[in-house]
């Protein structure tokens, strides 16, 4: 399999605190790769680095074999097809789900294109079908602030999907969800992986076991180990620092 993303020797230094200490990591096209590790291991920071929310201190992040993400501003990284879902729902609460999707939708996002943009029938159908898929069609014209937590999470996942990403970065997508919602989210994720690569940070081991194709364990700003969930569970080192602790 071909690598869609390769991080080489990524370091992040928060004025003295070394959050990432030379991370090397490859994401293969089409996989669902889970990042796990104890709190403070640097998982979220790594996602932050990839989407440029955090500037790296050293290292490279190569996307699709040719694009150095660390040199692009955030919005251009998105244009390349790297899309990030944040842990806390980051939707626009004063817009409706429909409007949220409308602005998230893959389109030319420059000032003048948007000024002249008109909703086409095709676009409307696309949004409506996605609304159906994430189960928000009935509430499409409510203001987003009135949605439940799970609905907000799905809306956000929807906002990522409608951008037709190549690489989707998810940060704890099922946090705060009920069992049923988790299953639904997991299925959605598997469906997504048909069209794009998914990199997920997650703490819920059952969820990881169920949906991962590969797992990477991080510890203290470094990659500790990688492999399938099976392999990881058998890894002594991992057991010591992580599984051992969390039972």
């Amino acid at each position: 399999m071909q690598e869609i993303l390769s991080c080489r020797n990524v370091m992040v230094d928060f004025s003295g605190f070394k959050a990432l200490q030379g991370v090397n990591l490859d994401v293969k096209k089409g996989e669902i790769l889970f990042l796990i590790g104890p709190n403070g291991a640097g998982k979220t920071t790594l996602l932050d680095v990839i989407c440029k929310k955090t500037k790296l201190t050293a290292g490279t992040v190569l996307f699709d074999g040719k694009i150095s993400l660390e040199k692009l501003p955030e919005y251009k990284i998105v244009h390349e097809g790297v899309v990030r879902k944040f842990q806390a729902p980051s939707i626009f609460i004063h817009l409706t789900p429909f409007e949220n999707l409308e602005i998230a939708m893959k389109q030319k996002k420059g000032l003048f294109s948007i000024l002249l943009a008109k909703m086409s029938r095709l676009e409307k159908e696309k949004i409506d079908s996605l609304l159906n898929k994430i189960g928000l069609f009935d509430v499409r014209n409510e203001t987003a602030s009135s949605l439940s937590h799970g609905q907000k999470q799905w809306l956000e996942i929807g906002m990522q999907l409608i951008q037709e990403p190549k690489l989707l970065l998810l940060d704890e997508p099922i946090a705060g969800m009920s069992g049923l919602e988790r299953t639904k989210t997991g299925e959605l994720m598997q469906e997504i992986s048909q069209i794009c690569t998914v990199l997920v940070v997650e703490h819920d081991m059952d969820f990881v076991r169920k949906y991962s194709t590969r797992v990477i364990v991080m510890h203290e700003g470094k990659v500790l180990s990688e492999g399938t969930m099976q392999e990881i569970q058998e890894n002594e080192e991992v057991k010591n620092v992580y599984l051992g602790r969390s039972g």
Partner: protein, 299 residues
């Protein structure tokens, strides 16, 4: 050489005055995120308090007139703090989540306070006579360092010292720091955030009162006294980095020295323009001021 030294002193002196004016704002705006447009009016309250005290001493205790000014400093602090407390309890407490609304509401307060002062004390300026021991200056190597400016310099140092002791060495101050750092966490730990808010606002207002008291030594005392300082005060807090007391101190002193030197080589009008233009440019370069912090939160 003596000219440069003199100007350096003038700059530090101006800086100390600016700092004193900004110190209260560094708490109300810097720590609590309330854009208090009535800050200037608390300065005015301090100044009028000094005036009233002077009148009382002149009439009741003419023998002790020399000491009235020393008494005026704590009284001005208390009066301004009390009015600040009232304002916090009745108005500001509704506005912690709405900084831009706090600006508008406190603007209304400033209009009211100005007109109230005019109704009480009359529209014309009033004069405060400095006690005899503050007149004149220290002559040194052909230069004169006015006692009043030295006094203010000392007062500023003292205020800053007290503020630091309060914030870092007392329980009440530590609680205030805790609340400004993480309101929810502090409240979980049993800190009464309401009480802390009120205290902080009162202290910020009280510091403005001290500033008003010391400004009577140098300038006019009238209902619109505060308007001359309000923009400068905000600039200093922003320049120093919002929420960073040390940054505020640095910004005040730097601004004082810088504008004094620019003014000396140009004119007061041009200096004012250059200084503000430089502030704008500086903030472009370092948007979070001298002592900015990195934030991890998104929006």
């Amino acid at each position: 050489m003596s000219v440069i030294l003199m100007q350096l002193f003038n700059g530090i002196s101006l800086g100390s005055i600016l700092l004193l004016v900004a110190l209260g704002l560094a708490i109300t705006f810097g720590q609590m995120n309330i854009i208090n447009m009535a800050h200037g009016e608390f300065i005015m309250i301090g100044a009028y308090t000094t005036y009233v005290l002077q009148q009382v001493f002149q009439q009741q205790f003419p023998d002790a007139f020399g000491t009235y000014f020393l008494l005026a400093i704590p009284v001005a602090f208390l009066v301004a703090a009390f009015i600040g407390l009232l304002m916090e309890k009745t108005i500001v407490k509704f506005l912690y989540e709405r900084p831009s609304d706090s600006l508008l509401a406190t603007w209304g307060v400033s209009l009211i306070l100005q007109q109230t002062a005019r109704s009480i004390f009359g529209a014309p300026n009033v004069a405060v006579a400095a006690p005899e021991w503050l007149n004149g200056g220290l002559s040194l190597a052909g230069m004169t360092f006015p006692y009043k400016r030295l006094f203010i310099l000392g007062l500023v140092l003292l205020s800053v010292l007290f503020l630091f002791i309060y914030l870092y060495r007392t329980n009440s101050g530590r609680r205030m720091k805790a609340v400004t750092m993480n309101r929810e966490m502090a409240s979980c730990l049993g800190v009464s955030t309401r009480k802390v808010d009120s205290t902080a606002f009162a202290i910020g207002s009280g510091l403005a009162g001290i500033a008003g008291c010391s400004l009577t030594l140098l300038g006019s005392i009238g209902p619109t006294l505060g308007t001359a300082y309000i923009v400068d005060a905000f600039m200093i807090v922003v320049l120093g980095g919002v929420g960073k007391l040390k940054g505020t101190i640095l910004a005040g002193v730097m601004l004082g020295i810088f504008s004094t030197f620019v003014e000396f080589s140009t004119s007061a009008t041009i200096a004012k323009m250059i200084v503000f233009a430089v502030i704008i440019l500086f903030l472009q370069w370092k948007p979070t001021g001298f002592a900015g912090v990195r934030v991890r939160a998104l929006d």
